[in-house]
Symmetry: C2
């Protein structure tokens, strides 16, 4: 059985929606997802870099993110044909461990928690495929990297790209 490793933020967990909403509320701004095309919020507002990061190091930030559209159904279906591991660079936000774990238990209870991986450098991941929104994780990955479209990666070229979970489904099950 081949193995698919799947990232969390901006792939199965809707990071931007909450992050932007909090930022817009607190700074009376109206930044949209389109404004993030090819960039990141911290690059758009560099003078607020620390404040922008502070939202994320809040231990509960990751606990109530929305699940990305269709991904529960598609991952459930994939799990009948592939080994599924959730591989998140949680070491970048060590305050997030518990929230990320509880979120996965709530929304992906059909996966074993033995298949959750909190790491940093994803070259440690042994899998046939890695679905991720950060191209840097593909550099030393020995399997096939699959770039999940996120605002910040929209201009990246030269990768197998999927734009949503229906496209993931088509890639693996058609």
């Amino acid at each position: 059985m081949k193995r698919i490793a799947i990232d969390m933020d901006e792939v199965i967990a809707d990071f931007n929606q909450k992050h932007l909403a909090l930022f817009n509320r607190d700074y009376n701004e109206n930044i949209t997802i389109v404004d993030l095309h090819g960039t990141k919020l911290r690059e758009l507002r560099p003078h607020l870099k620390e404040e922008i990061r502070n939202y994320i190091i809040e231990p509960t930030f990751f606990r109530d993110l929305e699940v990305m559209k269709d991904c529960q159904e598609v991952i459930k279906e994939l799990s009948e044909h592939y080994e599924i591991f959730i591989t998140t660079a949680a070491m970048e936000f060590p305050t997030s461990f518990t929230a990320k774990y509880e979120w996965l238990k709530e929304h992906f209870n059909f996966l074993s928690d033995m298949n959750f991986v909190f790491c940093g450098d994803k070259s440690i991941i042994k899998a046939d495929y890695l679905i991720d929104d950060n191209v840097r994780h593909f550099e030393r990955f020995s399997g096939q990297g699959i770039l999940f479209t996120a605002p910040h990666n929209i201009n990246e070229k030269g990768y197998v790209r999927v734009n949503n979970w229906q496209e993931v489904r088509n890639y693996f099950l058609k």
Copy 2:
């Protein structure tokens, strides 16, 4: 550069010493490491299985474990010749994430936290070597498993075995 993945409990962190001390104190017992040869505390005292586990799910249990003899020096030396990752099955004890992270930051601050991995099923680990006290992790591991002697594994046969960190040093650096 070849890569060595290293387990935490009973390999770099002295799990048994603290666990036994707490148990002996609370139950007025005098169980020693030798009593654990080829077994586990929960198998020696099955009627106290839940209590024995309760020590470990206490969120701070892993925070103040002793560092195993010589392992800091040897890992530091190994890290000049190998990529080192710390790979612990923390998903078995989700309450332990923060304590394990802080323990690693305290005692192995010469390693990047991007090289810490909290997982469950270690077949996800891509490394050339895995130093671990649990033989089950070698079953689907694609590299060379190296069994670090612990009381419970003392009767396991057919594995490359190291008894202490000087033997690890000799294996990799001689």
